[in-house]
């Protein structure tokens, strides 16, 4: 009797299970062969991990990338004497440092380096520090490289922090305490939203046709910014560098920058350059220095020169410049032009040891401004001393 009851209970359970199964949907398998629904590791992470299996190094590299593709770090990489961290000998390679660090050691070479002929390399998101050579050396001789570096910190490397060849972009990066420059860009590159400080060389040094914007360069061993021909430098700050704040070769455009408390000049540009809407203050030498055929417009040059007489708020050392609309105060010389042939208009100087020092045969009218009486209302004032709209004034 008891056994019958148990059997009945079991059958009832089976019936209940059957009902539950019915509620759970049909159990008829779908047509066709059984196929797996899981994803393989390579489907979840299709990129290639940098390790001794996938990217074995050789006599001079810890890892070596020989095929195009997308690579990523799976941990910190420690350098070895006589070796690079990662050597790239293939074109079209992306390396995601994945937040990890490439950490050099005594006698190591570059953190990441490319071989000659390599193009289109991207490095992003990590730190490269303590290498015996460059942090990143993505400059392959004279070949076209087109590198892009994003979100990388380069620190305490034996050469420059980040060195890039032609057509490169560096964005959102920092470089500190590298033996040479913080950043190097060869040609046609872009550097933006970066910080470069306390490097042994320049904050950034570039070849021709490089654009530098929205970046800060502080306490570097030579210049804050040093560029080749036809470079664009906008929205930057150069502060307390041992050399000059900004040094640009000819055909440069320097706009909306501050260059303050540097040991040399505030801003020095080569021929046919433009310096506009900048502040140059408290620099050890002159505020703005220009070669021939330059436009020096709307700048504010204050307290440069360390009190030494040859230095000036604005120093023009070659002919055919336009010096217009600038404000020069409290320098040894306000505006100094040492050669003939420039057009100097609508500038004002005040409080300099010598406000104007301009050799003959420049187009320049300087008027000692006439003080007005007190004004309270809708009218007043007097002519500053000239009806010439191009007059310069001392005030």
């Amino acid at each position: 009797m008891m056994m019958r009851a148990s059997l009945c209970g079991m059958l009832a359970s089976v019936a209940l299970f059957g009902a539950t199964s019915a509620l759970a949907g049909p159990i008829t398998p779908p047509p066709g062969p059984v196929a797996s629904t899981h994803k393989t590791l390579s489907e979840v992470e299709p990129r290639i991990a940098l390790n001794s299996t996938n990217t074995p190094g050789d006599f001079d590299s810890v890892f070596k990338i020989t095929q195009s593709g997308s690579y990523y770090l799976t941990g910190n990489v420690t350098g070895a004497s006589g070796r690079m961290g990662i050597e790239v000998v293939a074109t079209d390679v992306t390396i995601d440092l994945n937040g990890f660090s490439l950490i050099g050691s005594v006698g190591s070479l570059d953190g990441i380096a490319t071989a000659p002929g390599v193009r289109s390399v991207v490095v992003r998101n990590g730190t490269v520090s303590g290498w015996g050579g460059y942090g990143l050396n993505l400059y392959s001789g004279s070949t076209v490289l087109a590198a892009r570096v994003e979100g990388v910190i380069a620190r305490s490397n034996g050469n420059a922090g980040i060195s890039l060849g032609p057509n490169a972009i560096a964005r959102d990066c920092s470089a500190e305490s590298n033996e040479s420059s913080g950043f190097e860009l060869l040609l046609n590159g872009v550097l933006e939203n970066c910080v470069s400080r306390e490097n042994g060389g320049a904050g950034v040094i570039t070849g021709n046709a490089v654009a530098i914007r929205a970046s800060s360069f502080r306490q570097n061993g030579t210049a804050g910014i040093q560029t080749g021909i036809a470079c664009l430098i906008v929205d930057c700050a150069a502060f307390d560098n041992i050399g000059s704040g900004i040094v640009a070769s000819s055909f440069a455009k320097v706009e909306n920058c501050t260059s303050v408390s540097n040991g040399g000049h505030g801003i020095s540009v080569g021929a046919s350059s433009s310096v506009q809407s900048c502040v140059a203050g408290l620099n050890g030498a002159s505020g703005v220095v220009a070669a021939s055929d330059c436009l020096i417009i709307d700048n504010n040059c204050d307290s440069n020169g360390g009190g030494l007489s040859p230095n000036a708020g604005i120093l023009i050392e070659a002919p055919d410049c336009v010096v217009e609309g600038n404000n020069s105060t409290d320098n040894p010389v306000g505006i100094r032009v040492t050669v003939a042939g420039s057009f100097i208009a609508r500038n004002v100087c005040s409080g300099n040891s010598l406000n104007w020092d301009i050799v003959a045969n420049n187009k320049c009218l300087v008027v000692n401004g006439v003080n007005a009486g007190a004004i309270n209302g809708n009218s007043g004032g007097v002519s500053p001393g000239s009806a010439d709209p191009n007059a310069n004034y001392t005030y």
Binding site: G75, F100, R155, A214, C236, T258, L282, N300, N378
Partner: protein
């Protein structure tokens, strides 16, 4: 009947054996299945905390969150104790509680620390504090900080802040950064942003902060920023550049430029005190100052400022100069309620031409007579 039941049970046992596969373990030691995530997860096993931290990072490397972090009293959320650390918040939320310390903090003398991609809120001290003495070269990217008792983000000397948001923090939104770009600071208890000497802030907005929207030290570049409804809009110390910024509806002053500062092409409107203030040796050009309760532009007593080409309308006073030794030309003033021009003696002031009563006839065609009243190109105008 008994045979039927026995067959059924046998079938169940057989199916279980076949479906479950072999139960004999493979030979050799047990090893984990390799996964696609090589970074180090923040958890009690990998990054155990200590007396004052829930999690503590002690080795260089790349770390990530696998879930939200909830704070505890008297503890930091994640303490970074090694240089060369990247912490990816992975989109998660690091939430403090009453009496907690920093959400994310760094110990002294660290270098090369990056924090990115997540939210840090409601901590008892700072949200992200990477500025401990001698720490530097921090990067903070795409982090939202809010409701922290002190600062939202303390980036430290050399800090780079990109695309961040800081709101409702007790003191500064972003403090002590060197370069800030594409960020927002709102409703913080003191400054929206404070920028170190030689710093840069571009393309950013500060609003509804209790004190200054942007507080910049010497030699800073401030470009294309907006500062609205703060205690004061922007203050910049010596030899800084402020260009193409808007400062509106601040309770106090719009822009306060100390000595040697250049302020160009800005709009300062509807502020509770002055639109623009400068001390000495500054260049103020091409700005529009409208509807400020006190002065459109106020020039203090120190002198050697160049005030040129600005427009001042609807303020208490248009241009107010209380010291000698400045040069003032090509400005325009209109409809300022107390007075359009208030300038003490011994400044170089180009003629101020009163054209308030002069109107031109309608013009339709190719020419018209001048109604400027002067041919002096340096003249200032009232209209």
């Amino acid at each position: 009947m008994n045979r039927t039941i026995g067959s059924m049970l046998a079938s169940v046992v057989w199916m279980g054996v076949v479906c479950a596969g072999p139960i004999t373990p493979p030979p050799g030691p047990v090893v984990g299945t390799p996964g696609p995530e090589p970074r180090i997860a923040i958890n009690a096993a990998n990054t155990p905390g200590d007396a004052n931290s829930i999690f503590r990072i002690t080795q260089p490397g790349s770390y990530y969150l696998t879930g939200n972090v909830t704070g505890e009293a008297a503890k930091n959320g994640i303490e970074i104790g090694a240089s060369g650390v990247t912490l990816d918040l992975n989109g998660f939320d690091v939430v403090g509680v009453t009496g907690s310390l920093d959400g994310i903090s760094a110990t002294a003398s660290l270098r090369n620390v990056t924090v990115r991609n997540g939210s840090v809120r409601n901590w008892g001290e700072d949200g992200v504090d990477l500025s401990t003495s001698l720490s530097r070269m921090a990067r903070v990217e795409a982090v939202h900080t809010s409701g922290n008792a002190v600062d939202g983000i303390r980036a430290g000397d050399g800090g780079l802040v990109v695309n961040c948001h800081a709101s409702y923090n007790g003191e500064d939104g972003v403090s002590s950064a060197l370069t800030v770009t594409g960020s927002v600071a709102r409703n913080n208890g003191r400054f929206g942003f404070s920028i170190n000497v030689g710093g840069v802030i571009v393309d950013s907005a500060a609003f509804d902060n209790t004190d200054y929207g942007i507080y910049a030290s010497n030699g800073c570049t401030i470009m294309r920023c907006s500062s609205r409804s703060n205690g004061d809009g922007i203050i910049a110390f010596g030899d800084s550049l402020i260009k193409e910024c808007t400062v509106t509806l601040n309770t106090g002053d719009g822009i306060n430029g100390q000595q040697g500062t250049t302020i160009i092409d800005c709009i300062a409107s509807d502020n509770g005190a002055d639109g623009i203030i400068v001390l000495s040796r500054s260049l103020v050009r091409g700005n529009t100052c409208h509807g400020n309760a006190s002065d459109g532009i106020f020039v203090s007593s120190s002198g050697a400022n160049r005030i040129e080409g600005n427009h001042m309308s609807g303020n208490g006073r248009g241009l107010h100069v209380i010291g000698p030794g400045n040069v003032i030309m090509k400005n325009t003033a209109s409809g300022n309620t107390t007075v359009n021009w208030s300038i003490v003696a011994n400044n170089i002031v180009a003629p101020i031409i009163d054209r308030t009563a002069v109107v031109s006839a309608a013009i339709s065609g190719n020419s018209a007579s001048s109604s400027l009243g002067t041919s002096d190109e340096t003249a200032n105008f009232t209209y």
